[in-house]
């Protein structure tokens, strides 16, 4: 049985991405007890799946490393991975929370030596790389994974493969008898930081994501560009593995559309502008990027970044929402539409099309086990009647990493005030 120390002065943070980690750290560093619950086997969320950040073009692993160091140094944070909140009862200052813990089948003896991975032959979808490849069923989710511990996929439990993994382990770290369990803990305040998911590209029928292999999404493109990704950092198109040197980026794929996502997702313009840098970085002047846009929303200080990309002769901007993608005989995706600057019809073939998918709150359509309000897009809103549960990061709005961190800090501050009242430290 997993033991967690928690009282009604504890702050529970749900979601261990950049927002949840930030909220947990900010609260713990003021002296509060924090329980951080993450559904994946590792922390860092979608941020660790990025190749680079905008605007500084640095690697997320760097920022994450700093946060992990803070986390490891702080005894007040208890981290639960493979954990999901299933129910919340009680009120502000006195919540009772049930958390379901899925088995990892690997205990803390693990040194991440990788012998179990070598021993196992079954392959599963590589979720970390948006299913662009396969991985062994005993795996380390990513190089930066925290906890730095292998995971055995439940699909091989009870098969000879699982026994092979156990036999290969020299540290007695594999425990095939691990069971799912549900624990209950107390909390005074809750920070809900469950983040986002990319909009389902198949729903935008006229872009043919499900029909054309060379139409991919912005999050998949991040993995292609990453040296730790499935292609070793080469931008290869899925249909034939050819180097993709002429790449189209389609903005507002899902966003700002009453038929899909009502809101502007805010990060996708900057995301695509950033990704043109990847094309330039890999192929130099041979790499050509075309951005199809309605209007570029490089908000406030990002305008500089936009102007620099605009000045790059290898990047073309077409003011148009692409109306339809077709495929030519060579398997190249063709963007069809009308350039609204001059009303010129076009049918442009590219090597690869990247859909700049919008951001959908991960909580949308999910039954949050508490009374929380959400807006018309499904993002959480502050609820005055329930002011012990606070949204943070992309659970509350479409935000980039920088703004998610700001939002998380704000949520931590609100949660701190609640537990301070419980402790009578604040009136």
């Amino acid at each position: 049985m997993t033991s967690v120390v928690a009282t009604n002065q504890t702050i529970l943070v749900v979601g261990g991405g950049i927002s949840g980690m930030t909220a947990a750290l900010e609260a713990a560093e003021t002296g509060k007890q924090v329980v951080l619950v993450e559904k994946n086997p590792y922390l860092g969320g979608r941020t660790v799946q990025l190749y680079r950040y905008f605007p500084k073009m640095c690697h997320p692993t760097c920022g994450l490393e700093i946060n992990l160091r803070r986390l490891k140094a702080n005894p007040r944070i208890q981290v639960l991975t493979l954990a999901e909140v299933t129910g919340i009862t009680g009120t502000k200052g006195a919540y009772s929370v049930s958390v379901k813990l899925k088995p990892r089948y690997v205990n803390s003896n693990c040194t991440a030596c990788g012998e179990c991975g070598k021993a196992v032959s079954t392959e599963i979808d590589d979720e970390f790389n948006y299913n662009l490849g396969k991985i062994k069923a005993a795996y380390l989710p990513s190089n930066m994974a925290y906890p730095q511990r292998y995971v055995i996929d439940p699909s091989i439990i009870g098969t000879p493969d699982a026994d092979k993994a156990k036999a290969a382990c020299k540290y007695d770290a594999v425990n095939l008898d691990d069971q799912e369990e549900t624990i209950n803990l107390s909390a005074g305040a809750i920070v809900w930081a469950t983040g986002w998911k990319p909009y389902d590209a198949e729903k935008i029928v006229y872009y043919g994501y499900d029909r054309f292999p060379n139409v991919i999404t912005n999050v998949e493109f991040e993995r292609l560009a990453d040296p730790h990704g499935p292609t070793g950092g080469k931008i290869l198109r899925p249909s034939d593995g050819k180097e993709a040197k002429n790449i189209a980026f389609i903005q507002c794929a899902g966003s700002r559309d009453e038929n899909h996502l009502r809101h502007c997702s805010r990060f996708c313009c900057m995301g695509s502008l950033k990704q043109t840098h990847y094309v330039q970085e890999k192929y130099g002047d041979e790499g050509k990027s075309t951005i199809y846009f309605i209007d570029i929303r490089a908000i406030d200080r990002f305008e500089d970044f936009y102007q620099k990309v605009k000045a790059n002769p290898n990047v073309t901007f077409v003011k148009s929402k692409v109306a339809r993608i077709t495929e030519d005989k060579a398997g190249n995706p063709v963007c069809n539409g009308v350039n609204t600057e001059g009303y010129i019809r076009y049918a442009n073939a590219h090597d690869l099309v990247v859909l700049a998918l919008g951001m959908e709150p991960a909580v949308k359509g999910v039954n949050i086990p508490a009374e929380v309000m959400s807006d018309s897009s499904g993002f959480l809103m502050a609820d005055p009647a329930n002011a012990g549960i606070f949204g943070a990061g992309c659970a509350t709005n479409a935000l980039d990493v920088n703004r998610a961190v700001q939002s998380a800090t704000a949520a931590a501050l609100r949660a701190i005030q609640v537990v301070n009242k419980v402790a009578r430290a604040e009136a």
């Binding site: 006229y206 507002c252 700002r256 559309d257 009453e258 038929n259 899909h260 309605i294 003011k319 148009s320 929402k321 692409v322 109306a323 339809r324 069809n336 539409g337 009308v338 350039n339 609204t340 009303y343 019809r345």
Partner: protein
């Protein structure tokens, strides 16, 4: 008819957007367009030479007050009512209906082009269908085939012979319709009274708009 054109131009002065909003059916949607170009790109007639201004350009011209450019345009008559733009519009603008609304308004104030084929079809269809409450397919087809003259009409009719015979055999086409027989509504008088009342109400509504 051209007097009505001048009257409307004077009444709304330089506010063509307001004129369209008040006078054209669904005109109030014009300001919702965000100029993304999805409607134009989705339009199946966008390769046609008569397509001078696509929908989102018409919307922008209206907002820019370009009355003459819009009323002289062929764009709104090019719509085939496929509804591609309508279902895809990210702002849920009923583009198809707005285009029809603008076309109807231009016709009403006497600004529609003289020999516009889709307008000809619409008018012919309307006259044909309202006569008996049901469409007389044979007469409708005849009036379209013989539009370009007797020779062209016969040639077209010969081309479509096997299709027509197939329809007759399947019971989908009654050749007696050529003589004004065939299917009709039971209460033709009732239909005519209803249409007359609808026209009266519509005319009253339109006349009242923009006068206060």
């Amino acid at each position: 008819m051209s007097d009505l054109n001048q009257e409307m131009a004077d009444r709304y002065k330089n506010n063509f957007l307001k004129e369209i909003e008040e006078q054209a059916e669904m005109g109030e949607w014009v300001k919702m367009c965000m100029q993304c170009g999805l409607c134009s790109g989705s339009c199946p007639t966008n390769f046609h030479s008569g397509w001078d201004h696509p929908p989102q350009e018409i919307f922008m011209l209206i907002r820019a007050g370009k009355r003459e450019e819009v009323l002289n345009s062929q764009g709104m008559y090019m719509c085939t009512s496929c509804y591609n733009c309508y279902v895809r519009c990210p702002r849920k603008v009923p583009v198809t209906h707005v285009m029809h609304g603008i076309a109807e308004y231009a016709y009403r104030i006497g600004r529609a082009p003289k020999a516009q084929p889709t307008m000809h079809l619409s008018k012919t269809f309307w006259t044909n269908a309202t006569k008996t409450g049901r469409v007389n397919e044979v007469q409708l087809t005849q009036s379209l085939y013989f539009k370009e003259g007797i020779g062209a009409g016969i040639k077209k009719a010969m081309e479509m012979q096997s299709e027509a015979l197939g329809l007759v055999k399947a019971g989908r086409l009654n050749p007696m319709e050529a003589l004004g027989m065939g299917h009709k509504c039971k209460d033709i008088k009732g239909i005519h009274a209803m249409l007359a009342k609808a026209e009266e109400l519509e005319a009253r509504n339109k006349a009242a708009k923009g006068k206060e």
